[in-house]
């Protein structure tokens, strides 16, 4: 029978996987709505003409690399290198923030082009889908910031906590969602 | 079954048992079939329950009953028999559905009915006739109704004719109807559409082809010109008071589309979508304060004096 922290680890991992599962269903709904609207005439043209594949693609790479850096953070935590843990956590945070900055740039450019939520179904579904993803990134960044602060305060000096890996599952999920969303929203219109 | 339905149809009019079309008859047939099966299943459960409750009530003597926890054969029966019933009804349903709603392909619509918040508009294809609220149909031939909406989702349902069909803004839906006997058939809007959904009732007057034809010709003509001075004053007022911005009266300048077409208003038996009889008294009540008569209706309140009211009422009452 598992006791104490080992059991708590398993519980937290299960808990976050369930949360990830339910959020995945939420994104599935948003994606289905986007795909539904994309079948109407004129939509793909808007996608290819309005969206900046290259710039967003580069910011996407930044986000994907933040998954790598978080993974490094986890690995170091398990080995007990708390110093490296903090470093990789901070890098992850920065990379995530850069991604959000990139999203903000894209949004502002689109607003200047009169593409917004109320413009047409493209604007409506695009901003909702990417907006909610951005919100999830923001929540993730806040959590990472808290974890980093706690690490700096010494809460994770012993490597028995499950918080790091639990947050990791959430963060990787956010990245996978972006991979799918980016593919459907930015890439597919160019190969249709 | 037959006696019951006769009884019920004397009891009330817009019942699903008062079938006036082959579509409604098909539905009644499968409905009856299901009623029999369902009654059987219900009686089975009821009788079993009663028997159990009577036979196995706890007795003061005797210890624990035999602790039986399952029986594979019984379980398979419990799955198998309902499954069979379900399969039978599925195929019966398939057959009925294709009989009632065959493909439309490019068959032209006979009448285009548009739902508005809380009145009906009917365009008779191939003619100039546009009516509101009361719809005439010829008996004997399969008719294709095209159903649209001008605002929210409505639904067209006359129980005697069979199926209902939603009217969804932005799409066209179709409904096949074949009316067998002439008569007056009532129905109602069957999708909640706002404040006066309750008073968006349907009145279909089914006529023999000859009478229908005659009616259609009358409806296609322009409005009757007012004969006396009061009605004439009403016509003038109609334009001045901006009634014409919402209502159409063919043959005059009134060309609105927000409200019902009033060209042959006086030829209708009821007004306000079945809310009341079409009498001058009711018209006057309506014009005095629409919001008191049908609260929420999209017709504003005008403040008319007695003379204006009389004039408008006289004008409207002669638009046969």
């Amino acid at each position: 029978m598992r006791i104490g922290t080992e059991r708590k680890n398993m519980e937290n991992k299960l808990m976050i996987k369930l949360v990830v599962g339910t959020e995945a269903m939420f994104f599935l709904s948003l994606i289905m709505v986007f795909v539904y609207f994309s079948l109407a005439p004129g939509f793909v043209r808007l996608q290819t003409s309005e969206l900046d594949l290259r710039s967003t693609g580069m910011f996407s790479l930044v986000l994907f690399s933040s998954s790598f850096t978080y993974w490094r953070a986890e690995k170091n935590y398990h080995k007990g290198n708390i110093g490296m843990l903090k470093l990789w956590l901070i890098v992850t945070f920065l990379l995530g923030a850069i991604f959000l900055f990139g999203q903000g740039k894209e949004y502002i450019r689109l607003f200047n082009d009169h593409v917004n939520l109320g413009a047409n179904t493209f604007g409506t579904s695009f901003f909702t889908l990417t907006g909610f993803h951005g919100l999830h990134v923001l929540v993730g960044l806040i959590i990472i910031a808290i974890v980093t602060a706690l690490a700096v305060a010494g809460d994770y000096d012993e490597k028995k906590s499950s918080v790091i890996s639990t947050v990791g599952i959430y963060w990787h999920f956010v990245d996978i969602v972006w991979a799918v969303v980016f593919f459907i929203v930015y890439v597919i219109p160019h190969i249709r | 079954m037959n006696n019951f339905s006769v009884l019920l149809s004397r009891f009330t009019d817009p019942t699903v048992l008062n079938t006036a079309s082959p579509q409604a008859e098909q539905i009644r047939s499968i409905g009856n079939g299901f009623l029999i099966a369902a009654t059987g299943i219900f009686l089975l459960v009821l009788v079993l329950t009663i028997v159990i409750v009577v036979r196995f009530r706890s007795k003061t003597t005797g210890g624990e009953p035999r602790q039986i926890a399952g029986n594979r054969k019984l379980e398979i029966l419990m799955v198998g028999v309902p499954m069979l019933l379900v399969i039978v009804f599925f195929f019966w349903s398939l057959h009925t559905m294709s009989a009632i709603m065959p493909p439309v392909s490019d068959h032209p619509a006979d009448v285009v009915i548009t739902g508005h918040q809380w009145w009906w508009q009917a365009d008779y294809k191939g003619t100039k006739a546009v009516t509101a609220n009361e719809i005439h149909l010829p008996v004997g031939k399969p008719l294709l109704l095209q159903l649209n909406s001008a605002d929210v989702i409505h639904d067209w349902w006359v129980p005697a004719f069979g199926a209902k069909m939603d009217m969804i803004p932005g799409t066209n839906n179709n409904l096949w109807v074949t009316v067998k006997r002439p008569g007056i058939y009532e129905g109602t809007c069957s999708e909640f559409c706002g404040k006066q959904h309750a008073w968006m009732r349907i009145r279909v007057i089914a006529q023999t082809p000859d009478e229908y034809h005659k009616w259609l010709i009358t409806q296609s003509t322009d409005a009757v010109k007012p004969a006396d001075s009061v009605a004439l004053a009403g016509e003038v007022l109609f334009g001045k008071a901006s009634c014409s911005s919402c209502h159409s009266i063919r043959g005059s300048d009134a060309n609105g589309s927000e409200g019902p077409d009033l060209t042959h208003f006086a030829s209708r038996q009821t007004m306000l979508s079945g809310m009341m009889a079409n009498t001058p008294a009711n018209v006057k009540r309506w014009l005095t304060d629409p919001q008191k008569v049908k609260p929420g209706a999209h017709m504003p309140r005008f403040i008319f004096n007695k003379d204006s009211l009389n004039a408008l009422t006289a004008y409207l009452s002669q638009l046969k």
């Binding site: 708590k8 | 299901f34 219900f42 009953p65 926890a69 399952g70 799955v79 599925f90």
Partner: protein, 560 residues
């Protein structure tokens, strides 16, 4: 439970306070509690409060409908009242009651001392509470939502709304939805990780099984609702184009998103009830549940199929016969596993020794009433029948037979069964029987005639109706039945209050029951268990009480 965080929740040193709020520990202790038993009780009180509110709303509606062409209520008031009635009953009566019983009893039934995440547990309750509060605030903020409990587009759009009511509908349900989802996560982790050592999944009580399955349903279904609510808020506030045809949106998209949630939701509200009855029938027939595996399997089958039937709410929207047929087949299919359960319960009672406690009375009534409701549901799955009867009072009849004859009867049964355990007091069985008969007679009087009203052409959601033959008398009968139910519920409240105030003390095991919650005191101590009796079958307490007739010692094989 864990030593790893600095934020350990201090365990109160005094025993759990009584049910009333006027004891020495006070309201503050309840509000800040993270104990699953207190949270469970709070859920139940919340549910009772909203039952009365939702009931008052509908009694006003029924008064208006008592005679034709009535003017007791105008259309604006009527539309708000029926919308709030449906929304309240589903989200703030049935859901909190189910979650209340689950929160209280799942840990006890698996031999745990609390849920996996006690603070999350408290959050779940308070989210539900504030969601309800927000929804009801709409009455003060210009008007309650008035577009029906499923809030179709484009009627839910800003240009068809004369009040901000629907904004409150959306935000209230978003908040309470978060509570429901977090509670379900909590249940899954608790059930999978906190069972006492020797209790494998196949020894779990069926109520726990149903909560486990149900929780997955919640996790999969609620996101669809959340997405839809967010979208309509965006449409209303920021003039997005999700659901209005004018901007390229689609009204029917709302229906798909809503019913993708809506149908699983109704199964969310019945599966735990099946779980409650699977506890009641064995205890009061003195026999094990017949076909444990089949009850679990049919529950899982229903949960899986629940996601493949949603279009049966849209048979009249013109999607085409191919699509309609697919969903007709799946809807017909979903009736079969439910039938399996009914027959299993009947077989459980067969050959037993039945005790007619009030809990059991509701169980027996349920078998008949839910069958009626289920059969009317199956009639809808036969598409041509649905084409005639959809959006009529026949649907209202179906939904009330399954919601009241199904869900509510199960909750009442659970209430009479578990009240002694939760409060340490006895609910008077004699007045309970009065309540039972009043309620059942009232219920059938109200809703049986509505099948006929639907077949006679009366549509749903009409604030008044013309004086057509038979409509007046049947509606009057329905209203009379409603008042009878109201009186019954009043009686129930009286019985409850009297028991809490001055009821006689309850034993630990008043019903000679089978599961672990009955091994503790009534009510249980703050720490549920110091030790748990051995669990070697699905009826551990019974085995403990009757070691010579224990299930794990039985020579008989399955099925003999």
């Amino acid at each position: 439970m864990s030593e790893e965080t600095d934020l350990n929740v201090p365990e109160p040193t005094q025993s759990i306070p009584g049910l009333g709020v006027s004891n020495n520990q006070g309201l503050l202790q309840w509000i800040s509690s993270v104990d699953h038993k207190q949270i469970g009780i709070m859920y139940l009180w919340l549910s009772l409060l909203f039952l009365v509110i939702g009931g008052i709303e509908i009694m006003l509606v029924r008064t208006q409908l008592a005679v034709p062409n009535n003017d007791f209520l105008g259309p604006e008031a009527y539309n708000q009242l029926f919308t709030m009635h449906g929304t309240t009953m589903i989200f703030f009566v049935l859901t909190p009651a189910i979650f209340g019983f689950a929160t209280y009893f799942v840990p006890l039934m698996i031999g745990a001392n609390d849920m996996a995440f006690p603070r999350l547990n408290a959050l779940s309750f308070w989210m539900t509470f504030f969601g309800g509060f927000l929804l009801y605030f709409s009455f003060l903020a210009g008007g309650a939502p008035d577009a029906g409990w499923f809030n179709y587009a484009p009627l839910n759009q800003y240009n068809y709304s004369s009040s901000p009511g629907i904004n409150y509908y959306c935000s209230g349900l978003l908040l309470s939805g978060i509570g429901t989802v977090t509670a379900s996560v909590n249940f899954i982790v608790t059930i999978l990780k906190y069972r006492v050592n020797d209790m494998g999944l196949k020894q779990m009580p069926l109520f726990v099984w149903m909560i486990l399955i149900n929780s997955f349903l919640v996790l999969a279904a609620f996101p669809s609702l959340n997405a839809a609510l967010v979208m309509v808020l965006l449409d209303r506030q920021l003039h997005a184009h999700f659901f209005n045809a004018v901007g390229g949106g689609s009204a029917i998209l709302w229906q798909h998103l809503f019913w993708l949630f809506g149908h699983p939701e109704v199964y969310i509200l019945i599966l735990p009830i099946f779980g409650i009855f699977s506890e009641i029938f064995p205890v009061f027939s003195r026999k094990p549940i017949f076909g444990y595996g089949f009850v679990v399997g049919s529950g899982i089958a229903i949960a899986l199929l629940a996601f493949g039937v949603w279009v049966h709410h849209m048979f009249a929207t013109g999607l085409g016969n191919t699509v309609n047929n697919f969903f007709a087949a799946s809807s017909l299919l979903i009736g079969v596993p439910t039938g399996v359960k009914i027959f299993n319960w009947l077989a459980t009672m067969w050959g037993g020794s039945i005790k007619f406690s009030v809990a059991m009375l509701f169980g027996i009534a349920f078998l008949v009433e839910f069958t009626i409701g289920g059969l009317s549901g199956v009639s809808f799955a036969i598409v041509p029948i649905d084409w005639q009867l959809t959006d009529t009072y026949y649907v209202v009849a179906h939904l009330h037979y399954v919601f009241i004859g199904g869900s509510l009867f199960g909750l009442l049964s659970g209430l009479f069964y578990w009240f002694p355990k939760m409060s340490g007091r006895v609910l008077d069985e004699r007045s309970g029987r009065w309540f039972f008969w009043l309620f059942v007679v009232g219920f059938n009087t109200t809703f049986l005639v509505q099948h006929a009203l639907g077949a006679m052409g009366m549509a749903r959601r009409v604030y008044t109706y013309p004086d057509l033959p038979g409509w007046g008398i049947l509606n009057f009968i329905s209203t009379a039945g409603g008042f009878l139910m109201a009186i019954a519920v009043g009686l129930l409240i009286y019985i409850l209050v009297r028991a809490v105030r001055s009821g006689s003390k309850a034993e630990n095991d008043p019903w000679d029951a089978n599961t672990l919650e009955w091994t503790t005191t009534s009510p249980p101590n703050l720490k549920n268990f110091e030790q748990v009796i051995p669990v070697k079958s699905t009826r551990p307490f019974r085995d403990y009480k009757r070691p010579d007739d224990a299930d794990w010692n039985r020579k008989e094989e399955y099925g003999k």
